[in-house]
């Protein structure tokens, strides 16, 4: 919708000022993370000092994070868990999405509906019994507790997104390959899947950020400090009782946000496709 504006003053009032406000509010907490993480403690805990900038920037909080906490370990755990659970979910979602979008079988509509429903099931509903299940399988407090449970919300998402994507790829391309003698599986793997790469990329990026950010399952299923992921480690290990170590906390929050922000910035278009594709019923 192209809104036409009058003079420059009117345009400033109705457009630039609201836009600047919106961007400011959106980004302010990130500025706050940055500034807190480089201000020395005596300044941080002084009500009089101006909190918006510092003349004595320091990297002490980052040193604390790397030398006195298990932050590097948490980062590796998070990366490993997010990568493997994304890979599993993409594999399952690709096959399931293909089956539901392309194959004719009686159970297709109810199964599609079922997967859509599981897509809407929030972790909050299931975390208590799921904690029991994880223990029964003997994978409590291991990365596998998360690697196997994250796909419960990633697979429905990937399936849903890729199903929509497969429907946009003309069937005829595959049929040509089959007339030329390719088997169904061969046509699927070497003709349709390569055409779906943009969709796979979108689903993968989205799934990766979702598992990087997950909190509740990681909080419930992991207990030893060296097994934790970044969101849980920063939250539970840098707050001792009522004492908050704000410098290292914000340094950790910043470093924990940067990887997803980077992945996102490289693939903005794919991410937005996933986001908007995910909600189109």
């Amino acid at each position: 919708m192209a809104v036409r504006y009058g003079g420059p003053i009117k345009r400033a009032a109705t457009f630039y000022v609201p836009l600047a406000l919106m961007v400011g509010v959106t980004l302010f907490p990130f500025y706050w993370m940055v500034i807190t993480s480089i201000r020395p403690d005596p300044e941080l805990y002084n009500v009089r000092s101006n909190p918006f900038f510092t003349l004595h920037p320091t990297l002490k909080h980052f040193e604390y994070l790397f030398d006195l906490t298990l932050f590097p370990r948490w980062a590796l755990n998070t990366l490993f868990i997010a990568t493997v659970s994304t890979a599993i979910s993409l594999f399952c979602g690709l096959l399931a999405g293909y089956a539901l979008a392309r194959l004719q079988f009686r159970l297709a509509p109810p199964l599609g509906t079922m997967i859509f429903i599981t897509y809407l099931v929030p972790p909050t509903l299931l975390f208590i019994p799921l904690g029991d299940v994880v223990k029964t399988f003997g994978i409590g407090d291991t990365p596998w507790a998360l690697i196997l449970t994250y796909p419960t919300f990633l697979i429905p998402f990937c399936t849903w997104l890729l199903m929509g994507y497969f429907k946009t790829i003309p069937r005829e391309i595959e049929e040509c390959a089959r007339i030329d003698g390719a088997s169904r599986i061969r046509a699927m793997v070497s003709i349709t899947f390569p055409l779906a790469v943009p969709g796979i990329l979108s689903a993968g990026i989205f799934a990766f950020t979702l598992s990087w950010n997950e909190f509740l399952y990681a909080l419930v299923f992991l207990s030893s400090p060296q097994q934790k992921t970044i969101p849980i480690g920063v939250f539970t290990e840098l707050v001792r009782g009522d004492v908050f170590y704000w410098g290292p906390l914000m340094a950790g929050a910043l470093l924990g946000s940067i990887p997803v922000a980077l992945v996102y910035s490289f693939f903005v278009e794919h991410y937005v496709t996933a986001l908007t594709g995910a909600v189109k019923g």
Partner: protein
Amino acid sequence: MADQRIEPLLAESARPGATAIPMPIAVATQKARRPNRWSGLLEREPVLAAVLLAPTLVILTLFIAYPFVLGIWLAVSDKVVGRPGSFVGLHNFQVNLNDQIFLRAFQNTFVYTFIATILKLALGMLAALLLNNHFKFKRVIRASMLLPWIVPTVLSTLAWQWMFDATFSVFNWVLMNTGIISRRILWLGDGTLAMGCLIAVNVWRGMPFFAITLLAGLQTVNPDLHEAAEIDGANAWQRFWRVTLPLIKPIMLVVVLFSMIATFADFQLIYVLTRGGPYSSTHVFGTYAYEIAMRAAKLGQGASISLFLFPFLLMVIVFQLWYIRRSD
């Protein structure tokens, strides 16, 4: 095994008197027939579908369907950590309905969901309309708008917690230095104010999702329709209300439903910012279930609390499915 089958054929064709021609034909048919047993089966669509769906169904059965059934069992049992539970009927639900904290959490969940969703929709729509213009650095600004939504919620909520700090709150610093207030505001020290802060952070985090999806909706609106309406004398407000809104209603509805489910079942934002405090006044279903099940170790009681999410979720899901069917 394949070689064994081909060998007699080779032997046969090598017999004196046999022509050389049958050999390649025989080998070719054998080659085609060999994978036929398996792939012949896989050429049938229902069989192939079953194979392709198997991994998904196994994972979803083990980690969604089974825990769901187990959750219902837990909710009607007195299971605590470290001891098998026994059936207690609806006892847990009775306990909940006589628990003041639970009733407060019940109310909070709905207040939190509805106020936050309405604000996210209104501000998200405003943001989408602003972003749907031509301006400098459009791509960068659009992309950066989504940041609150993509970074780990826990980490950004920690930043907010620091901004709401009782002593060092930046908001207090600004308000006191500009002379607007003379005493520090304890942002998270009072139930109502803390709920307001929770809603504000939730809106900050969720608004970009609305903005970007609604923007995608706006971009599908044909500008010609606006010009036509303008020629007919419609002002900007009328054009938005009568032209844009009806066209993006479907996507708007879906975004609202998705967001409502996520907000209704929220856990991390509230758990990190207030942990349900002060004095258990800001609990929602999710955080209170966690409190009872994980901190008080009463798994059965906790499961009965999270089950309260279910009727609402079911309603939304049924509505959404009905809506999808209808629009198909």
